[in-house]
């Protein structure tokens, strides 16, 4: 595997002819390379939680380039650890009231594996959107906590810190609102695709979490697809989508959705 182009013991003064590019070209190309390498290092630092304010600020500067070049990745494959997987189950009701049920990803239906993986990643995307959002109750609770903190700061005579916290609160509320819209939009769109596919009038979706069996369970002879690895307390009602409707009904994410690292990070 020896590579004759590797840096290593070399003559101290390389002859100018050693390089096919002149020094001016090398200078400009070097600048471009340094800028590109900077982007390659900063992006993974900013793409995945936890992240520093510095990496976020630097990332903001380089984001247009990284987006255009499709470099916005964290590369945290199966990190921090392999987690549970998530499956979307659905029940479609057609015009005559008959129901068709299914789920994705579906190992029996989706072939080749690459296609199965696309649907698997879609279900994981839905999971992340659900996990990122709070219930109304949770949101109100968080908002109240921050408002109390703001009042406390004002009472302590620290209006500047209170103003900063108020700004943060408003930003959090705006961000959360966007996350809710995003989650609902994706669920509506997925629901509409399922309705079209099965010629239905309404579809009810549920997100199911499959926890990882323990070694002891497998030793006892339990199969990996055993239903006990789909605990009902981790099911999340994703709501109902009706044909032609822009609304999704009754989404109520639970608190205990389980996070884990997949290969999409």
């Amino acid at each position: 595997m020896a590579d004759q182009n590797e840096p290593g013991p070399q003559p101290a003064e390389p002859a100018a002819a050693e390089f096919s590019w002149n020094s001016r070209t090398r200078f400009w190309v070097s600048l471009l390379l340094l800028a590109h390498l900077f982007c390659l290092v900063i992006t993974p630092l900013a793409a995945v939680e936890p992240r520093s304010q510095l990496s976020l600020d630097l990332h903001r500067l380089i984001q247009p380039y990284c987006q255009a070049m499709y470099l916005e990745h964290g590369y945290r494959f199966f990190a921090p650890e392999p987690g549970p997987s998530h499956i979307v189950r659905y029940v479609v009701t057609d015009h005559s009231g008959e129901t068709i049920s299914g789920h994705f990803p579906d190992r029996d239906r989706l072939w080749p594996r690459q296609l199965y993986h696309r649907w698997f990643m879609l279900s994981e995307s839905i999971f992340r959107h659900v996990a990122d959002t709070l219930t109304d109750e949770q949101l109100q609770e968080r908002q109240k906590e921050m408002e109390d903190e703001i009042s406390e700061l004002l009472e302590q005579g620290n209006p500047r810190a209170a103003e900063e916290l108020e700004f943060q609160l408003q930003r959090n509320l705006r961000d959360h609102d966007r996350l809710v819209q995003m989650r609902d939009k994706l669920l509506q769109d997925v629901g509409q695709v399922l309705l079209e596919r099965h010629n239905g009038v309404s579809v009810e979706m549920t997100m199911v979490t499959r926890v990882i069996p323990t070694p002891a369970d497998v030793m006892r002879g339990l199969e990996l697809d055993d239903d006990r690895y789909l605990p009902e307390d981790l099911w999340v009602d994703l709501g109902v989508v009706n044909t032609g409707s822009d609304e999704i009904e009754s989404i109520e994410p639970k608190e205990n959705v389980q996070q884990g690292g997949g290969e999409e990070n």
Binding site: Q4, R26, V48
Partner: protein, 327 residues
């Protein structure tokens, strides 16, 4: 007092600059890059061919990622683009898809590579930007390989372009010196460095998790029903093997950026990539990801070895390889 500085900053900087120049700009034979073009090109073609099965689901305006969702997802950035957004007509979607597949096939065989390599990169980005919620590691590696193959002279060897050039010039083999270029070096170095960054972050990300420390993380991957393709849960009876696999994986990933450069350790670290990625591919149903990671690792194989391998392959297949005959 001789006037000599205690720390010879100037000479150190001069040496650093020389090392930088040697690393990036010493002309390099493009054999490795051209082999990567074929291997990555096959994967690009396959990846996009599979999209054909559900093109409207993932790429039409009535699919799962509609414009309103993507506007919310990406914000108002105009740098996230996709040619699928230029028209909502099914004819455009299917027509452009067929053209994309043709371009990727031409890129793989190395026809009009200067143009098709750039178009191949744009195709990869365009598809990824449109199907943002259905992507995984494979797409990320596809993306950067396509980018660097467009930067370098990836069609100079083992390509229809090379064959046509030889035919036009009426020579059986090009001069070896004319093949080497700084562009090939820059492209190869970018693949190598980008791969180091990928492994480094994949490794340090794992260090945050307890199961990568207690040696059980691989169990979590092997026992995941949604991933599993080959049953390796019999390893439950040999927990120390799971421990070794887990700890070796994380150690290998974290150390890769440092151990892949010395000539002494490079063959070992490269060799370790094979069982690691093939294991993931076979047991977890991710052969495409395994393939593309091994292709990226091939950037560390010297052009001389690639030429010998291709010559041997050519002779076995009865194909003359005149472009390597005199090197």
């Amino acid at each position: 007092m001789t006037g000599e500085p205690i720390i010879p900053v100037k000479s150190w900087l001069r040496e650093l600059l020389q090392a930088w120049n040697r690393f990036w700009f010493t002309p390099r034979n493009p054999a490795t890059l051209c082999l990567i073009r074929i291997l990555a090109g096959l994967m690009l073609f396959y990846t996009h061919l599979v999209w054909t099965l559900e093109l409207p689901t993932f790429f039409s305006e009535q699919g799962v990622f509609r414009p309103e969702y993507r506007e919310l997802f990406f914000g108002e950035s105009s740098f996230v683009w996709s040619h699928f957004d230029w028209s909502s007509s099914p004819a455009w979607m299917w027509g452009s898809h067929i053209v994309a597949l043709v371009i990727l096939a031409l890129f793989t065989i190395g026809l009009w590579t200067r143009v098709t390599s750039i178009l191949a990169f744009l195709i990869v980005v365009s598809y990824c930007n449109r199907a943002s919620g259905a992507l995984f590691g494979l797409d990320q590696i596809n993306g950067f390989l396509a980018l660097y193959l467009a930067v370098g002279p990836s069609g100079m060897m083992y390509s229809v372009d090379a064959w046509r050039a030889r035919r036009k010039a009426g020579v059986s083999a090009p001069d070896a010196a004319t093949l080497s270029s700084a562009q090939a070096t820059v492209a190869t170095r970018l693949i190598q460095l980008h791969l180091c960054i990928v492994y480094f972050f994949a490794g340090v990300g794992k260090l945050q998790g307890t199961t990568w420390w207690d040696g059980t993380a691989i169990w979590g991957a092997l026992a995941s029903y949604e991933y599993q393709t080959l049953d390796a849960t019999f390893l439950v009876y040999a927990p120390w093997i799971i421990n070794i696999l887990t700890l070796t994986s994380v150690f290998w990933e974290v150390s890769y950026p440092f151990m892949i450069w010395p000539k002494l350790t490079r063959p070992i670290w490269l060799f370790m990539a094979v069982p690691l990625h093939l294991g993931i591919g076979l047991c977890m149903g991710m052969m495409t990801f395994a393939w593309i990671m091994l292709v990226a690792n091939a950037s560390f194989i010297s052009p001389q070895l690639v030429q010998r391998l291709m010559s041997w392959l050519g002779s076995k297949l009865g194909i003359a390889r005149p472009d390597t005959a005199n090197q």
